[in-house]
């Protein structure tokens, strides 16, 4: 039997790039940094590297924990480690914080070299393709010509898909989980309400709140509360909270009364306490802009015609943020191109967040697919 467990203590690293990166927004970052972590060993052929792409609020701390902060466990630790579905005994796993992030990579809270002050609202909006380009530069620096696989859920899955379009020679397998080929009007609407909550917070100061010594925590909190609702399912909320009320709650007022209110406020507070509002704006905009079929007149199959990767696509039955039907659009565009693809529609009560859960069948599928990925 294999050992099966956490990768254990890990360390975050940071890499500075001195050659500019040109962004879709038409501007170029002259000097920029990426925070990343790696787990496992890169083999001699450098053929066993797997890139893990994060979703809206994620980062490079994907697995393990920090020696000085053992409770800070990576966000996809249940999937990644020795003997786990993404097995660090076989693969060299790379987690990265995307450009524009707020966990160590260059982003809106980083100093703008032109002013010496934080970029704030002046930080360029970045796209999924920009992230792929930045991740490719990290791959270059790590000596990885081609990923054995790129994997991600939600916005992370979109990056995995974009990799196979933008740099088809550099990725052998893409695992696209709980993603969509583009956002619907409803998806964009949710994102815009979230953005409006932040943009209209008086503490936002047009994105330059750092220099005012404030943070738009009220807006960010609302944005997260709204987002969180869309990550859960109605069934799961009914089961977990139903109409339960707090024992100490008063009635006929506007305090915390129903358990779901308490839960959402807690989630909102927790998130607003550490996340950067400008990064949140930028990430939701990257989501809205994601539409790899757009350059091909909306024909996703045409956009994927030049891809060389093999694919694993998965969706979750109660995910209404990016429903199974959206994943099937990706699958059928791949099948039309006669690309190798497997697709699983996983029964789960956990809505969009199911991709982060430790579900036996889901993890068996990922493990089963990755076992056939040659290193």
């Amino acid at each position: 039997m294999f050992e099966h467990g956490s990768i254990g203590p890990v360390a975050a690293r940071r890499l500075a790039f001195d050659t500019p990166i040109a962004l879709a927004a038409g501007v170029s970052l002259p000097r920029w940094e990426l925070a990343y972590e790696t787990y496992g060993e890169l083999n001699a052929a450098r053929s066993n590297a797997v890139l893990v792409c994060h979703a809206l609020s994620g980062h490079h701390h994907v697995a393990g924990w920090y020696a000085d902060d053992p409770r800070n466990i990576g966000w996809w630790d249940n999937l990644i480690g020795p003997g786990r579905p993404l097995d660090t005994n076989r693969f060299f796993v790379v987690g990265v914080n995307n450009l524009g992030g707020c966990h160590g990579s260059t982003g809106p809270s980083s100093p703008n070299p032109a002013t010496g002050q934080p970029w704030g609202a002046d930080f360029p909006v970045v796209t999924v393709s920009d992230w792929v380009a930045a991740q490719a530069r990290l791959a270059d620096a790590l000596g990885i010509d081609q990923w054995a696989a790129v994997i991600g859920g939600s916005l992370g899955g979109m990056q995995a898909l974009q990799w196979t379009i933008d740099l088809p020679e550099r990725v052998r397998h893409a695992l696209v989980i709980a993603a969509a080929p583009k956002l619907t009007a409803e998806n964009i609407a949710f994102n815009d309400v979230a953005r409006q909550a932040i943009l209209t917070d008086p503490d936002f100061h047009g994105g330059h709140f750092y220099r005012h010594g404030t943070r738009p925590t009220r807006g960010l909190r609302l944005a997260r509360m709204l987002g969180h609702i869309t990550y859960l399912s109605d069934d799961q909320m009914a089961e977990k909270f139903g109409r339960k009320r707090r024992a100490d709650a008063g009635r006929f007022g506007y305090g915390v009364e129903f358990e779901i209110e308490s839960y959402l406020r807690y989630q909102g507070d927790k998130f607003a306490g550490h996340f950067d509002a400008n990064t949140y704006l930028l990430m939701t905009k990257a989501l809205d802009y994601f539409d790899p079929a757009e350059p091909c007149g909306g024909d996703l199959a045409a956009a994927l015609a030049g891809a060389r990767a093999k694919y694993f696509v998965a969706s979750f039955t109660t995910d209404w943020r990016f429903s199974p039907a959206r994943s099937r659009e990706i699958v059928h565009a791949l099948v039309k191109n006669k690309h190798d693809v497997s697709y699983a529609e996983i029964v789960s009560p956990h809505g969009h967040d199911a991709f982060l859960m430790d579900d036996r069948h889901y993890h068996a599928l990922v493990a089963g697919y990755l076992r056939n990925v040659k290193t």
Binding site: H332, V335, K336, V341, Y343, G368, N372
Partner: protein
């Protein structure tokens, strides 16, 4: 790994598919046929509803798309496969005519195999007052996934009615050996190669 003898219809199907061609296998199970075909240079994709079978197919390294055949083949393009295969599954489906039409929309041609209800041992079982249980109809009446019981003559009648051309036919007995005569009486399993009629 692959026991071709256990599924003699696979050998028939494989003989109809040329290397380099593409196959869509409906109800592909754990992907045994697709593995057999892949070894012969055929590129294949499967459709399967059962989560356990989907997992096994993924583990077997074959392309599998989870989906319900009774919902049709929406999303699959017209004429996008050389062959669409439905092996030992037609009798479990609710929408018989719809799936046949869908197979011939998506595929240049189709292969359908099914247990022949008119096989003499089945007839004997009915004569003796029981629903048949055999190598090709291995279930009891109360646990069978089969919804429809039909014979070779019935199938051929449906094809004629739908304007479907029968291009080839192989009939096997209970041991998987070819049947040379009295097909609808001596045949336990029938395999048809069909196409759009002119």
């Amino acid at each position: 790994m692959i026991h071709a003898l256990k599924r003699p219809d696979y050998d028939v199907i494989a003989s109809w598919v040329k290397p380099g061609e593409t196959v869509l296998d409906l109800g592909c199970g754990e992907g045994e046929l697709l593995q057999l075909l892949a070894a012969r240079g055929v590129r294949g994709w499967g459709v399967e509803l059962d989560p356990g079978h989907v997992l096994a197919a993924v583990e077997n390294g074959v392309n599998v798309v989870q989906g319900d055949l009774d919902a049709g083949l929406a999303g699959f393009e017209d004429n996008s496969f050389d062959h669409v295969v439905l092996s030992r599954t037609l009798q479990t489906m609710r929408h018989t005519q719809q799936i046949l039409a869908e197979m011939l929309r998506v595929g240049r041609e189709a292969v359908v195999s099914f247990p022949n209800f008119a096989y003499w041992k089945n007839r004997m079982a009915i004569m003796n007052g029981h629903m048949p249980v055999s190598e090709d109809l291995p279930y009891q009446w109360y646990d069978t996934p089969n919804l429809r019981f039909f014979t070779m003559l019935d199938f051929e009648g449906l094809c004629a009615g739908m304007g479907i051309a029968i291009r080839d036919r192989r009939v096997l007995d209970e041991r998987g050996a070819p049947v040379a005569e009295e097909h609808n009486f001596l045949g336990s399993l029938a395999v048809y190669r069909i196409g759009r009629g002119d």
